[in-house]
Symmetry: C2
Subunit: 264 residues, 2 copies
DNA sequence: TCAATAGTGTCTGTAAGACAGTATTAG
DNA sequence: CTAATACTGTCTTACAGACACTATTGA
């Protein structure tokens, strides 16, 4: 490999282009020490509050050999940015995203740290977790809670911070929270998602009223019996094109798959 | 130039990287037909409501020869994305931006239209206009009102639409409007900026109260006599780091120049 | 004087938060 | 029965919008 020779040669050429993805899912800390790469979801560990988890890939070459990095890959001509993000996402997790949005493009020359100059187009995605979802990865993939991240390669720590800031902002005025739960959910489950993302504790009565008056929830008619208390009504998310949301569509007239398109 | 031969050769390589800028300034339609590239600002034409104007560059080669395009250039290694945007901006307008923010990265393969595959990192900028500002450009540069744009190259029309959507959203909860006026301004001037961006008509009394209670304005003590009516107090913008705004800082810990950094 | 904009006062509707109270389940 | 969560009622505060009113200028 002629890496170090190439670096100086390429200073007058354009940088390479990478696409990386911050993948977020709701999970609970697993109490069993067997298989530390597993994350218990709704099943088991009902005492622990759920938090956001993220899959990272261990680097197998320099720089940052052995550190953890965001899933991603190089961009080829003929591939759209979003397709490149989907490819990185699905090859890492085998799970389909419920939401995918471009985050930011990072291109400061100082971020390459001895590698080739690289512009990284970052995306973020949300994955629904149900009682049976297993958040496991392959050989060099591991899920981490966002509250306890390992040493990260390049500026990937900054990228994750920015993604979390964006999620915290958008959960307040969009339907993001519904993308982290299953097709049907109770208002308590939805409230736990909000609490996990914002780090706050919300009044159940006020949260209920706010969600029901938003018009984006629809009662399914069935209930969920969860413990030694009154069962809760199950709801499902129903998209509704409010005038406000129509202003927040994505750029480009082309069709975009799999999300309701909220961008600011 | 071996352009057409290069296209097929490069299909397995990464696309080129361009940086384009949507530059916005407040202006009023000029009634004089002499010099159609001029835009009257606050001086003159007081009957016309101000609107957003944007400078475009005429293309001098294929594809889209003769059409208008966003100012921009190719990205070189060793240059940050923001510096590339500043370079494109200042070489086009000779004016310094009061605000600069990354907009979105466009990379769909279909957007090259016979040119080389190109990923475009779009920025948007705000320029302050005062009574004496002349919004003029060079030989192949012309300012257009955003309400009456010409035929645009590539997907630059989509990029402008998205920038305008972003501005409309952010003017509601940030200090963006103050970046389009001079250092001091009356509440009527500031209201006209909001009205120009949102396309609405705002109640002067309620707008005044909302702005003053936001804490971001400070009375200068001097007044502006404008016409045959009571003179208006002049205010200036004072940055205040509210807890809410602290959540909306930009990514990357590096220093960023010349704006208060509002990003969602 | 009038016309025009600057600026104040006040009412109403909406929505968020605090918090008391009722309903229904398991054990 | 108790403990736990589901769900309802209601009070307070804050703020946006509507709109009547006063203040000050140029002509």
């Amino acid at each position: 490999m002629l890496v170090s020779a190439n670096v100086s040669e390429r200073m007058s050429e354009p940088p390479d282009i990478g696409v990386s993805v911050v993948i977020l899912a709701l999970g609970r800390a697993s109490s069993e020490e067997s298989g530390a790469t597993d994350v218990a979801t709704t099943r088991g560990n009902h005492d622990a509050r759920p938090t956001l988890w993220i899959p990272l890939v261990r680097r197998i070459k320099q720089p940052f050999l052995g550190d953890w990095a965001l899933p991603g890959g190089n961009l080829q001509s003929g591939t759209s940015l979003e397709d490149a993000a989907r490819t990185a996402l699905e090859s890492t997790t085998q799970l389909r995203p419920r939401y995918l949005e471009q985050l930011y493009t990072f291109g400061d020359p100082s971020r390459s740290h001895g590698g080739l100059p690289m512009v990284t187009i970052a995306y973020w995605a949300l994955i629904a977790t149900t009682e049976t979802t297993q958040l496991t990865g392959g050989e060099n993939v591991r899920w981490f809670p966002t509250t306890d991240l390992p040493s990260l390669a390049f500026d990937h720590g900054d990228i994750i911070d920015y993604a979390l800031t964006r999620v915290r902002n958008k959960v307040e005025y969009t339907d993001l929270a519904t993308r982290l739960v299953g097709d049907t959910f109770t208002l308590s489950q939805l409230r736990e998602v909000h609490e996990a993302i914002t780090g706050t504790s919300l009044d159940p009565a006020n949260f209920r009223r706010k969600m029901l008056s938003s018009g984006m929830l629809e009662a399914t008619g069935s209930q969920l019996s969860n413990g030694k208390h009154r069962p809760a009504m199950l709801y499902r998310y129903v998209a509704h094109e409010s005038p406000h949301q129509a202003h927040q569509r994505r750029p480009q007239g082309k069709a975009r798959h799999g999300n309701a398109g909220h961008t600011t």
